[in-house]
């Protein structure tokens, strides 16, 4: 270490005298002042603020300023890329988020870990009027104590229809094509339940299986797929598909449709089965402004505002369909990718993995990532 010290000694020697000291301090103070400047200049007050912890690209950018204009509440944002990351953050002691959007199964886990504040339905008049009754008292929150549905969708796979002529329709075909013809051009989600669950349904098992032998079989499939992957990402696959660096991706229906707006992309839930999910608003424990959180939820349940959201995210709306007619672009309302027919949904399962199943999946995921 002696010579590092000598180097640092050199650095020390090159600054000299009080003038240098004063100049340095002044620069430091100036930088601090500079850091304060933009905030002072744009005069933001901390008074009414909503701190919204969310998935990326999950809110129409137009909605934030519209909400602020209507309610006077400004919105501060932070992002996560998986349910597990959200949980890790809250469990690790992060407090101060007012609103978050976990998937159903994670709502239950968060509630069990006492990381949620209760929802006050008396503050949600619009929601009570417009919500489709199918989305109340969902299995993961039977008393509607902690959550209000945001939207719903499916997990499947997508491909560039102009570059992949085979038109795969099953998970088996997805895996096989990935391992052969399109090796190096396929991505999968950075999500434990989605990736393992898809392998399970491909083999004919339940998405939520916690059988050791079934999970072992799924693991073998995944380890066989791993060397052929381009990337494991929940946020970049849309871009990669649009640019053509990836031709197939395991992902969510809304992202597929968003990509389809730019390039020809088909979305498929494999015939063997898949996941049907509902994402819900929750208020994390330690929220500073629960009123603002309720205000946001009530705001986006207005059919007009909800239509704006659906037109951006391409995920199914939990509002009553009749209320959306006339507000939502009929092309989207009628798009089976956004609002799949009931019979396709009957083949799908919501995530409902037990603690035992989660522990087994964690181990498999570690092996998968480290292969």
């Amino acid at each position: 270490m002696n010579d590092q010290e000598r180097l640092l000694l050199e650095l020390g020697e090159r600054t000299v005298s009080r003038r240098g000291f004063v100049a340095g301090t002044t620069a430091l103070l100036a930088a601090t002042a500079l850091g304060q400047f933009p905030q002072a200049a744009f005069g933001r007050s901390e008074a009414e603020q909503l701190f919204y912890y969310n998935w990326g690209s999950y809110v129409n950018p137009k909605t934030y300023p519209a909400f602020t204009k209507a309610t006077g509440i400004s919105v501060k944002k932070d992002f996560y890329t998986s349910n597990e990351a959200l949980f890790a953050k809250l469990k690790g002691g992060a407090r101060g988020y007012d609103l978050a959007v976990p998937t159903g199964y994670m709502v239950r886990i968060l509630a069990d870990a006492k990381l949620l504040e209760p929802i006050n339905w008396s503050k949600l008049p619009t929601v009570k009027k417009t919500i489709d009754p199918k989305f109340r008292k969902l299995p993961f929150d039977p008393k509607d104590k902690y959550s209000v549905a945001k939207d719903w969708g499916t997990t499947g796979f997508m491909y560039r229809s102009d570059l992949v002529k085979e038109r795969p329709s099953t998970w088996r075909q997805f895996f096989d094509l990935a391992k052969t013809k399109y090796s190096g051009k396929v991505t999968v989600l950075d999500g434990i339940p989605e990736v393992i669950g898809s392998a399970l349904v491909m083999l004919g098992y339940s998405y939520n299986s916690d059988s050791k032998s079934e999970l072992e079989a799924a693991k073998k499939e995944l380890l066989g797929l791993k060397p052929h992957l381009l990337s494991i990402t929940a946020t970049q696959y849309k871009q990669l598909l649009i640019s053509g660096k990836a031709v197939m991706a395991l992902g969510w229906n809304g992202d597929a449709l968003a990509a389809a707006a730019k390039k020809p992309v088909n979305y498929v839930v494999g015939k063997e089965g898949g996941e049907f999910w509902v994402d819900s608003y929750v208020i994390p424990v330690g929220a500073k402004n629960t009123d603002a959180a309720h205000a946001w939820i009530d705001y986006v349940y207005d059919p007009k505002h909800n239509a704006t959201e659906t037109e951006y995210t391409y995920y199914g709306s939990p509002l009553r369909r009749s209320l959306l007619k006339g507000k939502l672009d009929p092309k989207i309302l009628g798009n089976p990718g956004v609002f799949p027919a009931l019979r396709t949904l009957s083949n799908l399962e919501p995530n409902n993995v037990t603690a035992k199943g989660t522990a087994l999946r964690s181990r498999i995921w570690t092996e998968f990532k480290n292969a």
């Binding site: 020390g12 000299v16 240098g20 620069a27 501060k76 690790g92 992060a94």
Partner: protein, 263 residues
């Protein structure tokens, strides 16, 4: 001959070092949203970055944490550096080893240990936990810099001061401290820099909404390289270049030479 080869090699190394920086700066002026598709020259992303409260908040947090921890690290580190050289050996050796460990422990290990600690101790994560964690390694940085200087300083001025009857405190204040000041300042600047650019430790001990600039960039870049982030990086680079340029000019005027040392 060797000289020319080495010079050529070094030029290549400089190209290597600056390639990503230039890419970032150039694409910060790209009018289009897609990074690799050039869509005309534009400065709109710079104004977008300055108006984005996520960017300015993160920048302000980074500056506050870096400045705060530089001050604390300087105090702790200087005191440590003064006491260390003459310490009783069985105490000094382990202490030096501890200082080395704080510098060399992989940040992921330090980050998670701090997270576990704050969780167990019930301390809410936030700006202060990031600052506390940063001081741990920055105090060591300052200590090393100041000690190197201190040990290399001849003590004749101090001895003269004592011989003239000055007490230890006034000797320190009037003789030693001014001579140490450059090293303390250098250590403080290093501490500021390490804190400002820190990622791993900050990632684990930051609470909700206390994003530092690196954390904001990370969360933003997960969605792909965005023009706003490029513009932010270009601005930080310009700011740093300006400060360094200013410091260099000031110090040159104050009589610094390239290879010599100063009193």
């Amino acid at each position: 001959m060797a000289r020319r080869l080495l010079g050529g090699f070094s030029a290549l190394v400089f190209v290597f070092l600056y390639a990503p920086i230039l890419v970032v700066v150039v694409y910060a002026f790209n009018g289009g949203r897609e990074t690799l598709v050039w869509d005309g020259f534009s400065t709109k992303w710079f104004s977008a970055a300055l108006h984005d409260s996520a960017v300015t908040d993160a920048f302000r947090n980074s500056i506050l944490i870096a400045a705060g921890n530089a001050v604390i690290a300087c105090v702790l580190g200087t005191m440590l550096a003064l006491a260390l050289p003459k310490m009783w050996k069985p105490v000094r050796i382990p202490l030096e080893a501890l200082v080395t460990m704080t510098l060399v422990t992989p940040e992921i290990v330090f980050g998670i240990s701090a997270l576990i600690f704050f969780t167990e101790a019930g301390i809410t994560l936030g700006l202060k936990t990031v600052l506390i964690a940063h001081v741990v390694f920055n105090a060591s940085v300052v200590a090393l810099v100041v000690r190197a200087r201190f040990v290399g300083m001849a003590q004749d001025l101090e001895e003269a001061s004592f011989d003239l009857g000055a007490g230890p405190l006034s000797t320190f204040r009037q003789v030693t401290l001014p001579r140490l000041a450059p090293a303390v300042l250098a250590g403080g600047l290093l501490a500021f820099t390490f804190s400002f650019d820190d990622f791993y430790t900050s990632f684990f001990v930051t609470g909700a909404g206390t994003s530092t600039l690196p954390l904001y960039i990370f969360s933003s870049l997960r969605f792909g390289v965005t023009p706003v982030v490029n513009a932010t990086a270009a601005m930080i680079l310009a700011l740093t270049l300006a400060s360094v340029g200013l410091a260099y000019v000031v110090l040159r005027r104050a009589g610094m030479s390239d290879t010599g040392t100063s009193a």
